[in-house]
């Protein structure tokens, strides 16, 4: 019994330590972010941030577009099969439009970016730790947070919301194609229905979620990389851990935000 308490206590302390480290890293990165901004910051950091934006955003576009299109079709078909029984097929439009704007656009994007870029951050920084590049930065009078983390975080803050919009667009478009083939509803008319079903607060909620997801993915990936101790196998473990932890935390954050927006929307 004592052993069980010991294990539970140890695990709790370890998780608290992790969350504490994430917070410390977040604030340090926010302080160092100015260096990565255009005009006011360091042009080398800004250039690194733009490079990261292309890697996180542009390179992930085809994958996210395809994922969102497939998910849009699936959602529309599954919704239609039930709603048709009640003669409410037109509600598929609301389901897809609101579902993708509020929920699936940001969530699909976050999961894809977590797998692609979160793991890449962990592997890159982990390798830099193993090969003493992080130490080299320090002794060269650079701040690793400003040099490595800030451009990645800034890039994620820009790329993830943009990708979420793209994911929502393609998901909704897939719903439109389904409606066209199943009910011969014109695409323009479909888009008009979509615009009436989406409210501004849905878009704002999606953007807030996207920024939170970007923060989680960037910081979990970077922290996992910075915590690497040992050799190449530790880099592999950190990469896996980055994806698992960030995906888990994104889903938990999504649940929290959805609950907040649900109750805020009721009042």
């Amino acid at each position: 019994m004592t052993n069980l308490f010991e294990i539970a206590g140890k695990e709790t302390l370890s998780q608290l330590d992790y969350v504490g480290s994430l917070n410390i890293q977040l604030w340090a990165t926010l302080r160092g972010m100015r260096a990565a901004l255009p005009l006011v910051g360091n042009r080398h950091r800004w250039r690194a941030a733009v490079h990261q934006m292309l890697e996180i955003g542009v390179d992930a576009l085809p994958m996210i577009a395809l994922m969102a299109t497939c998910s849009g079709f699936i959602l529309a078909m599954q919704g239609a099969s039930e709603l048709r029984r009640f003669g409410a097929l037109h509600f598929v439009i609301d389901l897809v439009a609101v579902g993708f704007t509020r929920e699936l656009g940001p969530l699909l994007t976050a999961i894809a970016v977590s797998g692609r870029s979160g793991s890449s951050f962990a592997a890159e920084i982990g390798t830099m730790k193993v090969t003493e590049e992080i130490d080299a930065l320090k002794v060269m009078a650079f701040e690793p947070v400003e040099f490595v983390l800030a451009p990645k975080y800034l890039a994620a803050l820009v790329a993830v919301p943009c990708l979420s919009i793209v994911a929502a667009f393609f998901g909704i478009l897939a719903g439109g194609l389904f409606m066209f083939f199943s009910t011969h509803l014109g695409l323009l008319l479909y888009l008009r229905y979509v615009l009436t079903s989406i409210e501004l607060r849905d878009v704002v909620a999606a953007m807030i979620k996207s920024l939170a997801f970007a923060t989680i993915i960037a910081h979990v990936g970077c922290l996992e990389g910075l915590r690497v101790r040992g050799g190449p196998e530790a880099v592999g473990r950190s990469t896996t851990s980055a994806v698992v932890r960030s995906t888990f935390m994104v889903i938990v954050a999504d649940a929290i935000f959805t609950t907040i927006f649900y109750f805020a929307g009721k009042t």
Partner: protein, 267 residues
Amino acid sequence: MAIISVRDLVVEYDGRRVLDGLNLDIEAGQITVLLGGSGSGKSTLLRQILGLEHPKSGSISIKGTDITTCSQADLKTIRRSVGVAFQSAALFNSLSLEDNVALTLREHTALAPSVIDLIVWLKLAVVGLADFGTLHPQELSGGMKKRAAVARALALDPEILVLDEPSAGLDPIVAAELDQLILFLKKTFQITALVVTHELESAFCIADRIAMLFDGRLLAVGTKDEIRANQHPRVRQFLDRVPANPVHTPALAAYLERYVQSQEAKP
């Protein structure tokens, strides 16, 4: 006059004492070699001198500034006068050799790009890599990487050059070339060098002074001749290459014989 002064330095990892009240002075304009076996505390002392870790107690002064208590800004200023070549070279793999050397010049000085290009060429020429500037670290041999790391360490014309295991893993010819390079740098730039190694031949070739570490303590400090004449049993054991735990071949043979007999006796 001592340019680096270590006083009563105590370092512990998880309660295990790695450096135990260490005192060391590194004189300006000399090559000091830190000699010692694996686990003697050489790398730990080096990381302390570079300000990468904090000691449990004691002080380390570089050019009169105590780096264990000074501000981050002061530490950065000190670091600009120290060039470091790590054991793994720690070159940035995403950058070419030229960019690796130019990095500190671009970020810490306001020099014109044409001047930076010239300085980079000079530094690479000093280490014999002027024709390889456009290559990336992964395209270089081990010896070339070490020399490139020295070129990068020299970029800001540091007063102190720190080399961690410069000849480790290199063939005797390349190792001898690196020794000649270190002597050339001292003669040409009047540089203070701190070299960490466990290679006796290299140490006695380049050193003005040798400090010998054992179990986190300094066993002996002196000139090459003083160290050669030192009669401390541990110093003699290291210099005469006497094994600490010789393999007891008869005991091992007897154990193996018993094992084979027990295997044969099984039904």
